[in-house]
Amino acid sequence: MSSIRIKAKDRKGLVDVKCLMKHNMETGLRKDKSGKKIPEHWIQDVTAEANGKVVFAAAFNTSISKDPYLAFAYAGAKGDTLKISWKDNTGATDSAETKVK
C-alpha cells in the first residue's frame, strides 16, 4: 500500500491538493534504546504531475515534520489524473495516483 495519501479537489479551475506521506523523516540525531544513533532517513524530493505534466515539485531536509504534509494548488480540473511521487536519501521511491474530485 502506498505511503502517500492525496486529497485533490477542483475549486473553479484551481485544484486544491493536500497530501500526507507516511515517513519517519529521521534526522540522524535521535538515539535508539541502546544508545546507538538512528541513521538519517528522509524524503528528499516530491513531484506532483497532473495528466503527466509536472505541476509542483519540492525538495526537503529533515526540518520537515515526520509524515510530511504538503499542500499546493494548480490550474486544473475535476477528472485530472494526479500523481505524487517521492524519493528518499536511500534511493527508495514511492508514488500514488488519484483522480481530482
Partner: protein, 150 residues
Amino acid sequence: MDRRGVLKVAGAVTAAATALVALPRVAFAAYSEKAFKQKAGADALQNAFGANATTPSDQVKLKAPDIAENGAVVPVEVQTDMEAESIAILIKENPSPLAITAEIPAGTKALVKTRCRMGKTTQVTAVVKSGGKLYTASKEVKVTIGGCGG
C-alpha cells in the same frame, strides 16, 4: 480563487517555466544535498538559487504561529501574488536552516503549506524567487518545552 494562477497558463511562459515543464516524467533532478546541509541560511540560498541577496517584501505572506503548540509539527504557509518561480522556507535555529524549496511551474499557484520541525524559538523566513530576485518575509516562532504535557 487566485485569478493570477489561472492567467499564468494563458500568459507567456517564461524560460524558467519552460525548463521545468520540459523535465522528464518523475523528474528527480539531482537533490542539492549541499544546499540542504548548509549551516547558514545565506549559504543555503546561495547553493539553492545561486544568489543570497534578499529584499524584504510585504507581498510575501508568511503564516506561522507566534507560539508553536508543538515544535515537532509547526504548520507553516507561504503565499504570494507575485509571479513566483520558487518558494523556500528557512528555519534559522535548525541545524540546517533550509527546510524546503518548491518549484512553481506556470499554472501553479505561488503557495506552499507544510509542517516543520523547530527545535527551539527561531526566526522563520519565507523566500520567494521572482524575476530572478529573492524576496523575504520573516517572523519569530516561539517554541516552548515543559508544562503538563506528560
